[in-house]
Symmetry: C2
Subunit: 281 residues, 2 copies
Amino acid sequence: MRVAFQGIHGAYSEVAATKFYSARCTTLPLERFEDVFAAVERKRADRGIIPIENSLAGSIHQNYDLLLARKLHIVGEVHLRIEHVLMCHPSSSLKQITHVRSHPMALAQCSSFLSRNEKLKQVPFFDTAGAAKSLVDENALSCAAIASELAAKLYGLKILKRNISNSAQNYTRFLVLGRRPLQPKRNVKAKSSIVFAPQSNETGILFKILGLFYIRNIDILKIESRPDPDTPFEYLFYLDVAGSPAQNKVAQAFEHVREKTRLFRLLGSYPMGKGNFYGAA
Amino acid sequence: MRVAFQGIHGAYSEVAATKFYSARCTTLPLERFEDVFAAVERKRADRGIIPIENSLAGSIHQNYDLLLARKLHIVGEVHLRIEHVLMCHPSSSLKQITHVRSHPMALAQCSSFLSRNEKLKQVPFFDTAGAAKSLVDENALSCAAIASELAAKLYGLKILKRNISNSAQNYTRFLVLGRRPLQPKRNVKAKSSIVFAPQSNETGILFKILGLFYIRNIDILKIESRPDPDTPFEYLFYLDVAGSPAQNKVAQAFEHVREKTRLFRLLGSYPMGKGNFYGAA
């Protein structure tokens, strides 16, 4: 199994891929999210993995846009706790460190630790794994990096301190993408992700559509509205519901929603990821 | 009117503040979002302004968390189109430029322009306005920056090219915060933002709560669910609805929602911002 991801080796997306496949996969690093979709479409990879929402930063609309624009299917999900690690060159030590490199978001997420170590000057980098790699590439002895533990391992760096994030509640949910839809087995807890745009902005249209799930006892697991980038003053809705169209009631609910909307896409049905944003993993 | 914002002079938040107040305000730059809340609470500023959602990147959950944790009130909103501008030192010119500095997100949002100009090496910076300011501070003649037009003006930079974003649909919605709640006048189109957590995860609880608005003909303008950071397996819902508690039906709907939830907060009622994420401004 070959899994495409955005970033370089050691990126959190790669950590998520190896978690999902229990390390039984090879990975393909690519520059942009579009490249991940293209690699799967053109069979350079069997699967792609993309982040879709973070517990602190919210949903990544750009990836929802790509899911809508391209024709891949969600075949799995994985929740990853983002555990930032401080690392340095193997020949260096904490005493020698004057600068810390990482993505501005990761630096911000470790601001409490960094403000307790004021002598450390912060240096912005494009990505966390890139910051880690730069330490070896440049033989940088006075610099540390904040990145994943996987990055430290891959680039042979020394771990100075684990878990330096301000919040332990920093989780990212990743989606696994394939060329063919999955039909989750009946004995597996499944969920389905859909996107739709109502036919009109009539008052209560969302209430009516949720009713189509309510009358069938189907749980709503996630909901989000967003102005439609292509149609001024209209909305898109992202919905995750429990179950898959292998169950009649879910298939019927989707058919019913399709009737009431001008746009409807089943993005995929897949086994629910173990753990949860905030539960035990 | 003194308005606190996160960032340095020339940040998009400051552009939003001057748009909202038609430039009739002074601004107070602060390092973190928390500082913006604190400045308003401690009367160092009359108002604060924070980004809450972007059309490409999604909602900023961290700021929703701050709205819940602190006691300020939303008193206004403003939608700003993010127009990235390429700028350089006044004594430099496009021919001399070899590097471009900006926040990684802004660089990514201008990737089409940058890939057409491959000779330009990208340099990550903490923020767009900081990248702009650095050009003057360092007298950097071979560097350009990507930032707001306001930043170019404030730091006396030369504008090389306007509107270099990949997508014209890059909008950010900002919230204006004050110490006291606003009671929007009856002749003004108002909206209200609430956050709630249902009493239990019973199937259909969201459907039932939306029904409380439906039966009163109250429009839902935005909806978003999110796992509650403080309570494993429970959800928070963010809702924007049309109207304000100055109307009986809205006041009654909120009272009714409060009954059905274990957590309810009216974050504020305020005049609807002119324009829209995707409509004419």
